[in-house]
Symmetry: C2
Subunit: 257 residues, 2 copies
């Protein structure tokens, strides 16, 4: 059975999508079978892989409302060796449509189960909120959540609210929710702000912060406009090396390498 | 009657809060009476002004669910000459609580009316989503919305979805919704990505993009940890100068200066 990790943080712009795409790409590069699930109505993960969200036949929305099994919509890119369950703007309506439904938080978890044994890693990208979509993502991550934290003050501030939400989810819907790790992103070692934030996060999450520090690198911001991960767009650059190191660190601690 | 502008963009981390605080601070610096409304459960605008969101007696949440008039909770900072209707984590529950209510989109607009004539400018900071809170913010902005756009590809990509949502709001709830302006943020002129994005946005929003370009500046990211706007924390730095220029540009085109 493969691992299922969810990328979540209600603070916007901290690197959830960038981590989903590039960690996924390097796990595939190291020979793993990888599925990415785009749970964000913005469909950023979908467009980062060069897929046009407006032409998508179906995806996460259809799966969540129970119209169709996930296998019908999973796209595969043989060159990147990555699979994707794409998002579409229709997903924005799912939160309201599911409000009254039974077991609405378990929809994604149930939808992934039939395809789970085809993959070694499933990574789920969440929107910047703590609504029903993110809740579905957190209930589905049987092996834990990965929390990207931008090395700045406001993202640091938001961690308190996130841990409260995690506690609430554990007591109400999914006692097994755990933190797989906290990832520091957009790190600029020249600034005191970044080094202070890293020290602070390490204090609050002892033993949970990944060794790999993702540096701020313009190449990471450029790659999405070419529809490819950093492993293809600019291998060997600091951003690419950092995500490769993160993939190795995760494989090692998962006992795969 | 003062002007009411809402800062909105569902893309996370584009500078909505940073613009609300620092544009607000410079409008006050130029003698305007300014109220900031924090409509984000993250309560970032509240903490940027040094207010502890966990000790707030009441704020936007109480006002939206109709418990109490806004005037009861507005905090005033005489040193900064800024007023704030603070947020609190309880606001996260408002979306679900209001789902079945009548005229749920108009709550904020109705709540602001009794205090509107005490201020020359009211700026509303929205969360990174297009849910009921942002909808309230957009129905309340009688003088238009300000759209911060980070000078990178994924924020550019999100503009299509934002304009579709604006069209939907115009036809369904608020025909008077208009765009006051688009603000380019975290601009780094040394990269082609930034200059390409600015050119692209100017093409899609002819005549709507503010002249003022907000540069990427570490001082802007540091200021929130000191609980003060850039006008107090690091006046004279490029980030401060850019927000001062934006305030002057808005005052001029509003016929105030
Ligand atoms: N390490 C990095 N260095 C430079 N730019 C980065 C880095 N990581 C992400 N970015 C850029 O920063 C912006 C925000 O990143 P991203 O969209 O991945 O964050 P997110 O948390 O998924 O955002 P949202 O909350 O909107 O879903 C994007 O333009 C992205 O290209
Ligand atoms: N011009 C700038 N230069 C450098 N850093 C900036 C600039 N503007 C904002 N920041 C920093 O970037 C991060 C994102 O900005 P901010 O929180 O204002 O965006 P937002 O759109 O309000 O985010 P959210 O979507 O989470 O509400 C913050 O850490 C902020 O301090
Ligand atoms: Mg994202
Ligand atoms: Mg904000």
């Amino acid at each position: 059975m493969g691992k299922v990790y969810t990328l979540a943080n209600q603070k916007g712009g901290v690197g959830k999508t960038t981590t989903t795409i590039n960690l996924g790409a390097y796990l595939a590069y190291y020979g793993q079978r990888v599925l990415l699930v785009d749970l964000d109505p913005q469909a950023n993960a979908t467009s980062c892989l060069g897929v046009d969200k407006l032409t998508v036949r179906g995806g996460t929305y259809e799966v969540l409302i129970g119209k169709s099994p996930a296998a019908n919509f999973i796209l595969h890119n043989p060159r990147l060796k990555l699979s994707l369950l794409p998002s579409s703007p229709a997903l924005a309506g799912a939160e309201v449509e599911l409000v009254g439904e039974l077991a609405r938080e378990y929809r994604l978890r149930q939808a992934i189960e039939p395809v789970a044994d085809k993959y070694d890693y499933i990574l789920i990208d969440c929107p910047p909120s703590l609504g029903l979509l993110t809740l579905n993502g957190l209930v589905a991550c049987k092996d834990g959540m990965i929390i990207p934290v931008q090395c700045e003050y406001l993202p640091l501030e938001g961690l308190g609210q996130l841990t409260q939400t995690i506690d609430r989810i554990r007591s109400a819907v999914y006692p097994g929710l755990k933190i797989r790790g906290v990832l520091m992103t957009m790190y600029d070692g020249r600034t005191n702000l970044a080094t202070d934030v890293v020290a602070e996060v390490r204090k609050h999450f002892p033993g949970k912060v990944f060794e790999a520090l993702i540096p701020r690198s313009i190449r990471l911001a450029e790659a999405p406009s070419y529809g490819m991960p950093i492993s293809n767009y600019a291998p060997g650059t600091p951003g690419a090396e950092a995500y490769a190191a993160l993939a190795r660190e995760i494989l090692e601690s998962d006992g795969v390498r």
